[in-house]
């Protein structure tokens, strides 16, 4: 297995800050905006961006965590059922601007399920998508991000992993390639 770091911790931080700035540019006061992280690993992107925004704007940013397990389209097509994580959205998203946040955008199926799951909490005014990594040539569905940390061109046999200092000890993005 070949392992290559494609984003080191320094650039990792710069990227997160840029994403936060782009959100600020489009949402200004965040009055009517809600950030929703997708379980499990989108939550880490959400937490970091929330921290940057709150430190910067000195106000609370409304955030939620969404689990999409029950909305997936591969139920019964997997060997093992996926164990759901917690959904933590204690507000109605009716007429809000929602930013869905995930770590890696690949086939787009997770986001499709996320859009479905979101509707259980009301009809949002507008939904945007922020992904830290966009594997742009691997899409199965017509879904594109509005905010992207880094675009990566990969083969479907490769794997991209976003690692976090609080979990793996260091902020970085790693590209894994199977040995031929």
């Amino acid at each position: 297995m070949d392992k290559r770091t494609i984003l080191n911790s320094k650039h990792f931080e710069i990227t997160l800050n840029r994403l936060a700035s782009q959100l600020k540019e489009n949402h200004q006061s965040f009055e009517n905006t809600i950030l929703i992280g997708l379980q499990p690993r989108g939550i880490h992107v959400l937490t970091r961006i929330q921290r940057i925004l709150e430190a910067d704007l000195k106000q609370e940013i409304k955030c939620g965590q969404l689990d999409i397990t029950f909305y997936r389209d591969d139920f019964r097509r997997r060997e093992q059922p996926i164990i759901p994580s917690v959904t933590n959205i204690d507000f109605i998203i009716e007429n809000k601007n929602v930013v869905l946040i995930d770590d890696v955008l690949f086939s787009g199926r997770t986001i499709r399920a996320g859009l479905d799951a979101l509707l259980a909490f009301g009809r949002p005014n507008r939904v945007e998508l922020l992904t830290f990594i966009d594997r742009r040539f691997e899409r199965h569905l017509p879904i594109q991000p509005d905010y992207t940390g880094k675009v990566v061109d990969t083969l479907s046999s490769q794997r991209v992993s976003v690692e976090w200092s609080e979990l793996e000890g260091e902020d970085k993005v790693v590209l894994f390639t199977e040995d031929k």
Partner: protein, 310 residues
Amino acid sequence: MNNLSVDHLIGIKGLSKEDIELIFTTADSFKQVINRPIKKVPSLRDITIANLFFENSTRTRLSFELAEKRLSADVVNFSAASSSVKKGETLIDTVNNILAMKVDLVVMRHPNPGAAKFLSERIGARVINAGDGTHEHPTQALLDAYSIREKLGEDFKGKKVVIVGDIKHSRVALSNIFCLQKLGAEVMVCGPTTLIPKHIHELGVKVEHNLRRALEWCDVANMLRIQLERQDIQFFPSLREYTMMYGLDKELLDSLEKKIIVMHPGPINRGVEISSDVADSAQSIILDQVENGVAVRMAVIYLLASQINR
């Protein structure tokens, strides 16, 4: 482990502790779902479920039906009272006819013990036992234990539960004993000698005939309904006498040193096994049990359905 170790839910006896815990963590997620404005998820949209009730039921059937509908499954209902069973059709024929209409999962209640196991060995669909005679009622035991877990925490070790009443005719009692013991709780049964099976201590439960002593020992009291319909002979002189000896009223509940939790699988005979003011008191979790019933059944159906391969 993300998979149940069984293909059918026939009884708690066949489940492992890990199975039960998996059902509980999955039920936690479904409990969130059913408390949302839109209480439905699309997971089972290509699954068809038949509810076969060869014996009367309101609560269990409604609970199963709601659970199935909230998972987006297609549901067909069947009750023996208005069917060909009355015309002499056998169980296997009835079920095979229903399965010929492409049903993936069968929920069945039947008056004969062992009916669910019998069926599971002969048909291609998954079977969930919703009560088979005096044998088992696994989903009731799961929701009871889940409700206790919600109140007293995830670790059942050292928790003391007493089951009071008609142990002999109760499938709820048997399933509860298996379930609580697998989770590590201590179980006691309490009732008149005639309603306690002779060899029940071999299951490792304590036996007590004095209600007060039983209540002083326990953290949770599960008050079973007196099932007059299952009793072919008289097991106690009169209902009034049963209530005097084994009925739980407010006076008795308040005289205990610790605040115990009171449960009842329903339907309640108010004023018989439990008085109205106890059933409606803060210590009673009877309605929590009903709410949890839907979440737990969603979890069971979801986990079994996830094993069906197309």
